[in-house]
């Protein structure tokens, strides 16, 4: 049981991911789908940041008095860098999705998926 407890962070991010997936698959409103997509992206970002964590390590900024840093003393900078760019992609997709939603709303007057499908017939 303690073995599973040491992995609880992963399971919590899995739950966050599933919340996002639920919103994308099942909620009919398109703005809610977009918000769910953002939750899903945050779940992936938190998962990567969790992978970079090390016990007893400091943030990856080299201390001034240290000449030859040891990898064990600093948390992994690579997931942080990659997730910085992932956040940028998330902002871009949100912006483009919002402008598509504005277009859909101007054309059909609704963002509810069921009503949209009826109007498209």
């Amino acid at each position: 049981m303690s073995f599973l407890w040491s992995l609880v962070d992963y399971f919590l991010t899995s739950i966050l991911f599933l919340v996002g997936l639920y919103g994308i698959l099942i909620r009919p409103h398109l703005v809610r789908k977009l918000m769910a997509m953002n939750i899903l992206q945050v779940a992936v970002i938190v998962f990567f940041i969790t992978l970079g964590y090390k016990d007893g390590a400091t943030p990856p900024i080299q201390r001034a008095y240290e000449d030859s840093p040891v990898a064990r003393d600093y948390i992994n900078p690579l997931p942080h860098t990659l997730m910085l760019t992932a956040i940028v992609v998330s902002v871009s997709t949100t912006g483009v999705a919002l402008s598509l939603l504005v277009r859909i709303y101007r054309r059909f007057g609704t963002l509810d998926e069921n009503q949209l499908l009826k109007k498209l017939k």
């Binding site: 997936l21 016990d55 990856p60 900024i61």
Partner: protein
Amino acid sequence: MKSFERFAALPLLVAGAVLFYAGRELPRVGSPDSPASLHVSPRYIENAYRETGAPNMVTAVLADYRSYDTLGETVVIFTAGLACLLVLGAFRVRGEEAAPRDQMDYSFGSDVLDATSRILIPFLVLFAVYVVVHGHTSPGGGFQGGTILAAALILLRLVRGSAEGVGISLKGMLVIASAGVGLYASIGLVSLVFGRNFLDYAGLPIPYEGGHLRELGSLGIEVGVFLGVTAVLVLIFDALTTGAEE
């Protein structure tokens, strides 16, 4: 519709089962010996300051070791800004009659908001510049600073309206965004001209050596990212709030 929704829960259950099953096999949280911490990152941690002159390893990896990757990211958000403009029809084909612009004022300013934003915005701008310039020795960089400055500009537009905010048009913002991406790419091209690889800052014609020169090169591209991110975020906001009606 109801039967469809019940069916949609099935892939959700399958995805959950896969995630939880695979999660048991992952390395312990916080383990220094996890595979992710053993292969590439020790190289970065042990050599970042000596090689790039930046104590902040995240900036060192972002702006130096993987700057080609970051150039791609900057182009991605630039493309997203362009896509927003095109989807919302901000630009018309030449000769086509311009559609009537939506003249609605989206500001919801009051005296209280106006007074508060007057106090807040100078510090936001200062902090944005600090985050970019100090990004090599403390958490920060072009993306973060650009977001903070864009937040200041959007706050100004929300409180005082687009006309009263910083009077930069859609086209002006587009020019600034292009200038940011262009600055980034041209720093890469300059080092190419001086006989080094693309984006290898050691080739820049600045009379400094080693880490100091690389730090200046990566500061240059951070400024390019800063301009690009700020302009694109404000551009997306402007495109969303004002646009042609159908």
